[in-house]
């Protein structure tokens, strides 16, 4: 494991205590990767929790007979050696963050892009000065700053990407508010699951500083950025013995691109649907126009009157169906598209984190090479009789430094690999839930609005059937019922509280749902008759609007219907 140690009989080497050296390197690594102070904390952790964690690890080993699982656990344990934060199985510190609401203020773009998120925090982490924080206000910009810092500083984790500050429900409505708040809640939930993050001082600072004043105190830079990063990315990835992670990056990349493609297609569909709804609108308006034309002529024929009512209603219904289609198109975007958007963003972050690991591996390879060459040099010098001891000293010093760097990188990589393996599982879980929720939301909305559409279509059915005495095609074969053009008999919709009339299964709907479905945003539009129209055609309104038949006539009606 340690090249330095294995070096053959180095006379100059001070015998070193293995364990102390290890702690030292861990110290240093944590120092470089996060903050010095944090390393202490983590060390405390380790010290305090090591026995506990050992127990925790041992117990399952004892209990579970499955060898494979045992091996897995062992491996996990081994992997987690460099990760004191992860080895804590029992949650010691607790932090809860609850997003309460969000505010949009200022200019239009500010409203949209930079809302203020308001949340409460309750924690027992020692790093925090208080236990409870109420109504913390942070703008989106601050979130961005924090994210940027965390992403660079904590290379071990996949820092969850920030949710979009707005949704496609369009800002300033209830749905948007709810969705955005829940998105941020979701983000916080994810982020506080990561012990590396909550113990980060910068995170503490973010929570504790005043509104609108957060700027990262420390600077954290990625291993490589800009052009260098781009160039390095072009190189083939180094050999990765952790197969899970080796396969993970291309997979995440595929998810990224596929999700993006789905988004594009979805957007296209939505656009097409909006166009469609527009045409549906014109189509419907055409019918309304038709009814107006017919009205202008001097037909006082009752049949034609009804025909006009039919055109008018049919037109309105079609127009409304168009509107609903447009709503559905928006909902498609707002549910699934936004859901995918987060996946797209997150996969990008994950992929970049994995890239960082690759870069680190490359650096480690370099370090290993330089150690080797330094070692070679030292050996050569030693082989010579007439070497200057100063020179030898110098080369040994160099060797020491190189091997130290190599050691550091090795440990760091180990730590990252171990953490990422854990994070990978979590991320896949998140991916599944995210996709599932998006699709669920999408489906629910679809069902709701498709049902509304059905109700609308069924509304005009009556007008169609009563447009003339014959009652239309629905009367085919039942012409003997001709006289029953009773306007009073209301046709019920097919979606009732006790299940759908057309479906065999009698799963009951919630009556509230039914109520909801039976009323659309456009009811007022549909139900208002054109006032002019009513005036001109009193005939159609002469009939007293009595939906209830008196029992006697109802009985006669029923009596005549013999099928």
């Amino acid at each position: 494991m340690d090249d330095f140690d294995d070096m053959d009989n180095n006379p100059f080497l001070d015998p070193e205590d293995d364990s102390s050296k290890k702690t030292q390197t861990v110290d240093k690594i944590t120092g470089t990767s996060s903050e010095v102070s944090e390393s202490n904390v983590s060390e405390d952790h380790q010290v305090r929790n090591d026995p506990a964690s050992n127990n925790a690890n041992a117990n399952p080993n004892m209990n579970v007979d499955n060898n494979q699982k045992e091996n897995e656990d062992e491996r996990e344990q081994k992997n987690n050696e460099g990760l004191p934060e992860r080895t804590v199985k029992k949650k010691v510190y607790d932090i809860t963050i609850k997003v309460t609401t969000l505010q949009r203020a200022g200019s239009v773009t500010n409203k949209k892009e930079n809302p203020t998120i308001i949340f409460d925090v309750a924690t027992d982490l020692p790093l925090f000065r208080k236990r409870n924080y109420r109504n913390i206000k942070k703008t989106m910009d601050e979130f961005h700053q924090l994210f940027k810092y965390l992403n660079a500083a904590i290379q071990e984790s996949f820092i969850p990407s920030l949710p979009s500050p707005f949704t496609n429900y369009c800002i300033n409505n209830r749905e948007d508010l709810e969705k955005t708040v829940s998105n941020f809640q979701n983000w916080f939930d994810r982020i506080i699951k990561d012990p590396l993050v909550i113990k980060n001082e910068e995170f503490v600072h973010f929570i504790e500083c005043d509104c609108n004043t957060y700027i990262p105190i420390r600077k954290a830079n990625l291993i490589a950025s800009g052009l260098k990063r781009k160039t390095l990315k072009q190189l083939p990835p180094p050999y990765d013995e952790t197969l899970d992670l080796a396969a993970f990056r291309p997979m995440v990349k595929d998810i990224h691109w596929n999700a993006k493609e789905m988004q594009t297609r979805l957007l296209n569909i939505s656009k097409a649907k909006k166009m469609l709804s527009q045409y549906e609108n014109t189509f419907g308006k055409g019918f309304i126009g038709l009814s107006e034309i017919a009205r202008d002529t001097e037909y006082s024929d009752k049949q034609l009157d009804k025909q006009n009512v039919l055109y008018n209603h049919f037109g309105k219904i079609i127009t409304t169906v168009g509107d609903i289609d447009s709503i559905i198109a928006t909902l498609d975007i707002a549910t699934l598209y936004d859901g995918l958007e987060w996946i797209v963003n997150d996969t990008y972050v994950v992929k970049e984190a994995l890239t960082n690991r690759h870069l680190l591996m490359r650096e480690l390879l370099k370090a290993q090479q330089s150690t080797k060459s330094k070692q070679e040099q030292a050996r050569k010098l030693r082989a010579k009789r007439d070497t200057n001891p100063v020179k030898v000293e110098e080369s040994i010093q160099q060797l020491k430094e190189a091997s130290k760097l190599e050691q550091q990188l090795t440990l760091k990589l180990e730590r990252i690999t171990a953490n990422m393996l854990i994070e990978r599982k979590g991320w896949i879980e998140w991916y599944e839930t995210q996709l599932r929720t998006s699709i669920k939301e999408y489906t629910l909305r679809k069902i709701e609005y498709e049902r509304k559409k059905l109700v609308l279509l069924e509304k005009v059915r009556r007008d169609v059937r009563h447009a003339d005495k014959n009652g239309g095609l629905s009367r085919l074969g039942r012409e003997h019922l001709l006289n029953k053009t009773d306007d009073d008999v209301k046709e019920k919709g097919s979606q009732l509280a006790d299940g759908d009339s057309w479906a065999g299964d009698s799963s009951k709907h919630d009556s509230k749902d039914v109520e909801n479905i039976n009323h659309t945003e456009f009811d007022s539009y549909i139900d208002t008759e054109d006032p002019n129209y009513q005036k001109q055609t009193p005939i159609s309104n002469n009939k007293p609007a009595s939906p209830s038949l008196d029992p006697k006539s109802a009985a006669t009606l029923l009596g005549e219907c013999i099928f």
Partner: protein
């Protein structure tokens, strides 16, 4: 009198028969007597009684018709030389009636019994029962063509229906054979049976005066004039007879409607008339037709390329009950124009619109095929149109190219060089004025030319523009135009909807593919399953969308398209009225010119002027007659338009409503399917 030779064409009786036929149709269309006729004769008789009452009284009440009566009184004497030949028909009829009289009962029962009917027809054939223009609307109408085209007759010999046609064809020949027969008895009968004629006799003295110097026999003249006058009267009061009811009791010559009650009570002449309902019933009863337009085939190469469709039809009306021929699009247009020409004021089911680009795409050909099939079936469903000779010719002629040309020539329809606009009509001079007179008109440039220059032979005055006075036409035409615009707009948005839906289907397919690709990543099994099912749902949705889309296209789209084209067809009959109006105006001015000239000579009749006077008089008479003819046609078309438009409105509204209903029900069903699809997905996967 140069005109005598030229004009002894059957102007009068043509006009008349047209009217009679028209009336008959109107009556049938407006009352639901059609079935009654078939079923119970007795009932009909009663109803008819009332009918006639209305008819006649109207005739008396109508000032316009009275005016025309007077004019006719003036005219009738002059008219006889041209129609003189026909009076022999009456005698012939008389003879026939005698022959037929014993068959009285058979006739009645024959109405229900086709076999017996055949007997009657046989008799008719032998005896030329229907020669008289007064009698049989339909047959005489057919006979109108007879003069022009003997060819067709030969073809149709075989079928029963065609026997009638054939016998009617003799109508024209008979005059030549026994032109000098005396028909006194018949006339007397007519007089007895027709109060109207008695009324008209008041005019006789006047007419006698005018006629005196040219007639051979006073009696003949009288009867002729009476007949003529009564014939002339017919359309005028007959067409308006639905509004009024009064107690006069005329016989039914003028109604064009069978007076069945008379069969028992009246003289044989009435029995003769009783034949009319028989034929009318047949005329109004639509024979079942099955017509298929199929197998569009591209024929010829490059420039001469066209598509031929095979038209297979099956019906009793077609010789041999079945015919299959190849027709191209322009033939369908020819048929449309020809029918338009044959039936003024009738809405002809229109062919599809012309299209130049993309004629050979299968989609388009299929669409056109469908539209043309519907057109033919609509024509076949119409009891009048289905018996049209040209229609039958279209369905069965083997040598269609030359035969259609021939028919076109005879009818003067100019069917093959029609205007692109289906609503623009050509007024056939032959149809309007009769073959011979049309020839004269044609010498001076034809009606079309005259419409542009004014009737040279009739007038020198500057043209007046025809202005429609009847509000009905103005309003309706206006409404039609607005309606058409609106429908076109709807059609356009439907078209857009259709294409957008197809786009959407395509996009959804892409979407499905990308979902499947994501599923194929196999990140986790459950996610993959979810996504696959999700893709599946979309697949089904796509299918249902496609279905709805094509279904919508087939119901609403096609109906709408047809509605629009029918409106062009309706506008065509308005145009007919308008064109006739314009011609009428020209004729009127010509007439008044000639009248003025006649008056001028009237004042100083001396030897020097006698020739000029004669010429002027002849001119006056010709123009007057033309004016009368045109006027009648104009009125007749106008009235017919009214009834047709009303019918059209009702029919279209029902058709359209049905289309809407189908569309709606289909949408509802697919909507339910969609909901089920989503709910199942939800239950199973989430």
């Amino acid at each position: 009198m140069n005109y005598e030779e030229n004009l002894d064409a059957p102007v009068w009786d043509e006009l008349d028969t047209q009217n009679v036929k028209n009336n008959a149709r109107n009556v049938f269309n407006n009352d639901d007597l059609k079935q009654d006729l078939n079923d119970t004769f007795e009932n009909l008789a009663i109803v008819n009684e009332e009918e006639k009452i209305g008819t006649n009284s109207d005739g008396f009440n109508n000032p316009l018709s009275e005016v025309i009566n007077n004019e006719n009184g003036l005219l009738k004497a002059d008219a006889h030389p041209w129609s003189g030949g026909h009076f022999s028909d009456n005698t012939n009829n008389r003879h026939l009636i005698d022959v037929l009289a014993p068959e009285d009962n058979n006739l009645l029962s024959g109405l229900q019994d086709e076999g017996k009917n055949k007997d009657v027809n046989e008799a008719i054939k032998n005896g030329a029962l229907f020669q008289n223009a007064l009698i049989s609307p339909i047959k005489v109408d057919e006979s109108e063509f007879e003069g022009n085209s003997h060819k067709e007759e030969m073809k149709f010999n075989g079928s029963k229906k065609l026997n009638v046609l054939f016998s009617s064809a003799r109508l024209r020949r008979m005059p030549i054979q026994n032109g000098s027969q005396n028909n006194t008895t018949n006339t007397v009968e007519v007089e007895h049976s027709d109060p109207l004629n008695q009324f008209l006799k008041k005019n006789e003295p006047e007419s006698k005066i005018v006629i005196n110097d040219r007639t051979d026999s006073d009696k003949n003249i009288q009867t002729r004039t009476q007949n003529l006058v009564s014939e002339l009267e017919n359309p005028l009061f007959n067409l308006q007879n639905y509004d009024n009811d009064s107690d006069d009791l005329p016989t039914s010559i003028t109604t064009g409607r069978p007076n069945t009650e008379d069969i028992d009570t009246n003289s044989s002449s009435n029995k003769e008339k009783s034949e009319i309902p028989d034929n009318d019933v047949k005329g109004d009863k639509a024979f079942p037709f099955t017509i298929e337009v199929k197998d569009p085939i591209k024929i010829g190469e490059l420039t001469a390329m066209h598509v031929e469709y095979s038209v297979a039809s099956q019906s009793e009306l077609i010789k041999g009950n079945f015919a299959q021929v190849n027709r191209r699009y322009s033939d369908f247009r020819w048929l449309y124009r020809q029918l338009q020409n044959n039936h003024w004021g009738k809405i002809i089911p229109p062919p599809p619109e012309k299209q130049i680009v993309g004629r050979y795409k299968t989609d388009f050909m299929e669409n056109r095929r469908f539209q043309m099939e519907r057109m033919l079936n609509k024509i076949a469903a119409d009891p009048v149109l289905q018996k049209d000779e040209d229609f039958l010719l279209f369905l069965s002629s083997v040598d269609f190219i030359s035969e259609s040309k021939m028919r076109e020539q005879f009818s003067g329809s100019k069917a093959s060089n029609d205007s692109n606009d289906l609503s623009e009509v050509h007024i056939s001079d032959i149809k309007l004025l009769g073959a011979d007179e049309a020839e004269i008109v044609a010498q001076t440039g034809g009606l079309d030319g005259e419409l542009n220059r004014g009737f040279i032979s009739m007038t020198f005055s500057s043209q007046q523009k025809y202005e429609e006075l009847d509000e009905y036409f103005i309003n309706n035409l206006q409404m039609l135009e607005v309606l058409e615009d609106q429908l076109r707009q709807i059609d356009k948005s439907l078209e857009l909807l259709y294409s957008e839906r197809n786009d959407l289907v395509f996009i959804i397919q892409e979407y499905i593919n990308s979902i499947k690709k994501t599923a194929d990543l196999e990140v986790i099994k459950s996610v993959s399953d979810l996504l696959l099912n999700f893709a599946d749902v979309h697949e089904k949705l796509k299918e249902s969308l496609e279905q709805v889309s094509s279904q919508e296209h087939l119901t609403l789209g096609v109906t709408l398209d047809e509605y629009i084209r029918s409106i062009t067809s309706v506008r065509a009959i308005f145009d007919q009225r308008h064109k006739l109006g314009s011609i009428l105006l020209l004729a009127e001015s010509g007439y008044s010119k000639a009248k003025a000239q006649l008056h001028k000579f009237d004042g100083n009749q001396n030897a020097r002027n006698i020739d000029k006077f004669k010429n002027a008089k002849a001119n006056y008479l010709v123009t007057k007659k033309r004016y009368q003819t045109i006027r009648n046609k104009w009125q007749e078309v106008g009235n017919k338009v009214k009834t047709e438009v009303e019918l059209f409105d009702k029919e279209k509204v029902v058709e359209f409503r049905n289309a809407i209903e189908i569309f709606l029900e289909a949408s509802i069903e697919s909507q339910k399917a969609n909901i089920d699809l989503w709910e199942t997905f939800y239950k199973n996967n989430i």
